[in-house]
Amino acid sequence: MRICLLSWEFPPRIVGGISRHVFGLAKSLAKMKNEVVVVTLDFPGVPDYEEIEDFKVYRSRTEVGHPNFLTWAFLFNHFLEKELAKAHKDVDFDLIHIHDWLVAPAGVSFQHLMNKPLICTMHSTEHGRSGLHNPDSYMIDGMEWWACYESSKVIVTSQSMKGEICGHFNLSGEKVDVIANGVDSEKYDINIDRRDVRRSFGVKDHEKLILFVGRLVPQKGVEYLIQAIPRISGRFPEAKFIIVGEGWMRSHLEWLADQSDQRWRINFTGFISDNDLIALTKSADVMVIPSVYEPFGIVALEGMAAGVPVVASQVGGLAEVIEHNKTGVYAYSRNPDSIGWGVERVLSDPGYRDWLVKNGYEKVRTQFSWTAVAEHTMDVYKRVLGEG
């Protein structure tokens, strides 16, 4: 099959889970002997065209910009269309698969011009991310509905997301397939010097390393973890907190940390490389995911693959990925005391910790591979093309 994946995120343009998803999917679809082309946006320091792991990547440069976000988004879609036309000269695609609304205009145009089916994966919704609160958010909401309407099939990563988009966009359940995200577990099969890694992040051998990884935006709920720190450090005076990621809320979160007398325990690292992130995750004592909205939560899989116990809010897809008291611990969303309780539960009982780690590790390795994601996605493609 000749497949075109269209996404505004693709490594090294890593923002959230979409980038990891599209890379993992492309790699596995190519391994299954499909001809795979990714069309995406440019990023400083990477070529406009390259071949990676048996698939091709075209990167479009947005030659005309505009300060307004939505105008910029429509402009880059025009340049994506130009890149799609270039890629289509090389490969006569059987279908086009778009990821989120940001690339919907280019994907929908291509579908109609080439008379090829369109498939859309909705990784999240504007309604869920930030609510519909201004004209821009209503417009994004409309674009998301339009992308679903134009698509032959819509893919989401959790049952929770299926419920959300079927309800919000009034879609038939038959049009929507749930395919959970995957994780490249083998990336975590590396030997690291745990002591060295921890020291490089300012954590001593005897201290407890509590890790958050994610974008510093409201839906990740980082402020609730920061509010839980006095409780956790009351019980574990040797606790240290590492917050990995960037986001527009960073200065606010640092201010919040400054308001406590716990600031010295908290390290905001910003964005770190994939290799450093893997080593750091493997060196953590517990990973906390305090999200208030999470369509899937790929970071939970990464924690489990790295052999780290996960304490997560029981929201959205996280509630499907984690089994409470078996592969992780649930905390109530927006509740610092509950997050603190979860962390204490894990840190205070090494036997319980090991049990969670063992179960989480096994679950991730057997149920959440990119090969499985690609196989399920191929089933969707075949049904759309009438081959299934």
Partner: protein, 90 residues
């Protein structure tokens, strides 16, 4: 135990972050596409003095880089800055 109020006020998008987004959206994302203050002023419709303030702060934080071309100081969003901007859009 907590020193924080039960309902936390949600922060507004900081002005300098909104400015960083504009610089990113107009395409100043690499040295060859860097812009000087006068060009930035035309794109963003902001006074030079305000732009200098934003750029000074963003440069200090590593979100903007500067370079000198033909006696003119030019500015572009750094890779860290691009990642920060994109967190708003994802």
């Amino acid at each position: 135990m907590s020193r924080y109020p039960s309902v936390m006020p949600r922060p507004e998008l900081p002005e300098e972050f909104q400015f960083l987004c504009m610089l990113h959206n107009v395409g100043a994302i690499s040295p060859e596409r860097a812009l000087n203050i006068s060009e930035i002023s035309k794109w963003t419709n902001k006074e030079s003095s305000a732009i200098k303030n934003y750029l000074g702060r963003l440069h200090e934080l590593g979100y903007v880089h500067s370079s000198k071309k033909n006696e003119s100081e030019k500015y572009h969003v750094s890779i860290t800055g691009i990642r920060k901007v994109l967190t708003l859009y994802s």
